[in-house]
Symmetry: C2
Subunit: 497 residues, 2 copies
């Protein structure tokens, strides 16, 4: 009986939280310019009300009772996840949540100004405050400052630690740094000059067709325009966004495919379990593995473009006239040294993540002071990325994450890349010829395989267990390295003329 009551209450929270999500989606997609204050008040009032509902002692009693019972694994998963959420709601005081929201909002605006003015000194006190808040939050769970970074990693990926990530990233760095050098030393150079004057309407039509063909269910979702692409909602109503640039159509297209990967995961979670651990994504890294897999392994593959190239040329005949298939494919897989993470390619991207992870570690351990951060950033960038930012706006100030207190979040991007590659090879092993499906515009086999191995599992497994269960191997960087080498080395190999 307690179990049914708990599930009923979790579903109610889910409906309320998804209403709150919609306010956030609308804020990014529709909100009139001067309505921001009103929306902030709506969201704050609703968030506060949901929080008050979610700490009701009755839930604690049900959980206590259920934890004494011997439950089947599926129910155990629901109870475990409900316990995590309940403890977090109960242990973190409302006063702290409200204060953090306010200080994050202030830090966000300070970051916008600081980046515009290339003024790290102005931002430094806000960043310091965010790290203090992160430590304070961990202390509610009796964790000391040294354990605080692990706490925040665990929030994004249950069970993951900085030590495990550090080992994975060291191995990754050792391979990717020389690989980037090898690619960039090649005489083969992509030419991006074809990407000019792509009609937005035609991009939109093409991109919608791509998304639908990949398997996104428009009967339970939609795609709109936002400044920063994202996926929100859940499988009952999945909202993707992208943005359009006439002179950068690949940004629109690959942002959309990336968000579609997130959306396909949400749409693949069991609808009847929405709101419980069985209907919730396994964590940030697994989510990112899905977006990356569709964006990169699938979307940048030759077989994908075998199908889409003729349709792309049909949509943009003038722009692509005189461009060979090989030139187009090389442009789609262009690699370059770029100080800006969001503008970087999938090979160098991981180095950006490693850079941030190493600095986060040093900030949380106390080894690195805030005031020394810009120089540390630039030194590490030069060493790892091979490019030194010319100023802090394109260095330490480039990303919003830290201003909003998102620590321990960046690693999931590269952990997701590792899992994506590992899933990719496992799928290829199990389904020989799968890639040739893509050449005919058929992505069903891959989607169904991901549905079974990943989406339908909900939160039954954490990142490490899921990797093992779905691919038969422990999570490592091996598959990602193999994939990057197999895709990029031949492409950048000068052809004998």
């Amino acid at each position: 009986m307690s179990y049914q009551k708990l599930v009923c209450e979790l579903k109610r929270f889910h409906h309320l939280n998804s209403a709150l999500d919609l306010l956030g989606w609308d804020e990014q997609v529709n909100l009139p310019q001067k309505s921001a204050e009103s929306r902030a008040a709506q969201s704050a009032a609703l968030a506060d009300l949901i929080h008050r509902e979610s700490i009701h002692p009755q839930i604690g009693s049900w959980l206590n009772a259920l934890e004494q019972d011997s439950l089947p694994p599926a129910q155990r998963c629901v109870v475990t996840e409900a316990r995590r959420d309940y403890d977090r709601a109960v242990n973190i005081p409302s006063e702290f949540v409200a204060r953090r929201a306010k200080q994050q909002s202030q830090a966000y605006h300070a970051w916008v100004d600081a980046r515009n003015n290339d003024d790290f000194v102005a931002f430094a006190p806000f960043l310091k405050q965010q790290i203090e808040l992160a430590r304070e939050e961990a202390a509610f769970f009796d964790l000391n400052d040294l354990q605080a970074y692990d706490y925040h990693i665990d929030k994004n990926d249950p069970g993951m630690t900085a030590t495990v990530i550090g080992n994975l990233f060291d191995a990754l760095k050792d391979e990717v740094v020389p690989l980037v050098k090898q690619i960039l030393d090649s005489t083969v150079k992509p030419d991006l000059s074809m990407f000019k004057g792509f009609s937005i309407t035609k991009q939109e039509t093409f991109l919608n067709r791509v998304i639908q063909t990949l398997g996104f269910d428009f009967d339970r979702g939609r795609i709109d325009v936002a400044v920063h692409p994202f996926c929100s909602g859940n499988g009952a109503d999945t909202r993707l966004t992208t943005r359009y640039f006439a002179d950068n159509p690949l940004d629109s297209l690959f942002s959309a495919i990336h968000e579609t990967g997130h959306g396909l995961y949400e749409q693949g979670l069991p609808l009847e379990h929405l709101g419980t651990g069985l209907g919730t994504a396994a964590g940030m890294s697994v989510h990112e593995s899905q977006s990356r897999l569709w964006e990169n392994q699938v979307g940048r593959s030759r077989s994908f473009w075998d199908y889409w190239e003729p349709l792309y040329r049909e949509a943009f005949p003038d722009q692509l006239s005189g461009v060979t298939s090989e030139q187009l494919y090389l442009a789609i897989n262009a690699v370059s040294r770029n100080p800006i993470r969001v503008d970087s390619d999938e090979v160098t991207y991981n180095l950006h993540i490693i850079l941030r992870f190493e600095l986060e570690m040093r900030l949380f351990s106390g080894e690195l002071n805030i005031e020394d951060l810009p120089v540390a950033w630039n030194d590490t960038a030069e060493k790892i990325l091979g490019v030194r930012p010319v100023n802090d706006s394109e260095g330490v100030l480039q990303d919003v994450h830290w201003a909003t207190g998102a620590f321990g979040y960046f690693p999931s991007y590269s952990l997701g890349n590792m899992l994506a590659a590992q899933l990719w090879y496992a799928a290829l092993d199990e389904m020989p010829g799968m890639e040739s499906d893509f050449s005919t515009g058929d992505f069903t086999r891959l989607l169904n395989w991901l549905r079974e191995k990943v989406h339908h599992q909900g939160r039954r497994y954490g990142l490490m267990e899921l990797a093992k269960e779905a691919t038969g191997h422990e999570l490592s960087c091996d598959a990602l390295i193999r994939y990057l080498k197999e895709r990029y080395l031949p492409l950048y190999q000068p052809q004998a003329s």
Copy 2:
């Protein structure tokens, strides 16, 4: 102290309720086809939670205390309105609210089917149930069946009664019935054949320009597409909708101007008082007076078209070539006998309302049985409108309102028309030459006048008092009759050739 606390709590409810409104807006504008069930669950969960918050005994205690105090009129208005809402929330049990929501949803779907199949008998039990629910609701306030109709009128227009409306409508009917005959007997006949193939994109551009020129603040609002046009949100974020037909551009345009009238009212309510009686519209009729005034008195006037006609011709040169200004203006003010309310013109529209009011009166008094309703409808339509519906789908089944329990709501459309005309002449009296502003695309003087006389008043006055305060005259049909005669009789007067 209690007053400040009360206002703070009312504003919190306002934020929560406006979040709920947004779910409703999104449902009409954006919701994917198969996401309706999820949205219904979100809205129900949130509505229930807001209801539980709004019946907190603390609010009752504050109100009791404040009602003992001698308060300035503005605070008195806030307390009175809060009391209305509180008593309604407390007296109407949650069980009833949930049951009504469910039965209204069932009745809505039954109505859709019945209208499609022209099958009133199938709908009759649902309609009967809706009337029972309306009586049951009134009984929570110790009102008997004979008082139930007044209760529902009062919900839409505080202080209004069926007796008052009956007197106003009898006088209106006596004048409008012969006026319609006079217009339709004229040899002057509008020609609507010009309205074919109007590009949707160009309609949209033109219409956005109109709305902006009328004074709608797009920094705090937007316009989107919905099947049935509506205005939702509030002055902090006002959401208009319209719809587009290539072969009926006047529908899109006048729907949009109508909703803009609602939107201008919302945007004119004092922002700092949103959530209290001082920042709430005075009632349905006053709201309708604003939408009607902009749609009809302004939007169908010669001076309005003096300004917009050249721009309309610029947007649609081919469609309007060979059409004279007089032909266009006559088409904009076409009058016809139409059994369908929503397709009717502003002259005959009032007769549709009177028809529904008379039948609602007879249904609530028990004089008319549900099973006799279709014949009673057709007889009354023939008598008042001069046209007998050929079936129930274009007769008694044409409108959704009764299926959703909206009784006592129709009268506000014609009460709004009366007030609109009365405000119109009062504004003209006070600001001679105001109409010639329109010819130059300037609508500021009228908007500012409405801001002061109506919008800024919030809920300080009910319909009858507001009419008196704003126009110096008791509410009557005189101004409406005068307006209809002044606008339509010359137009339908055959010119000496």
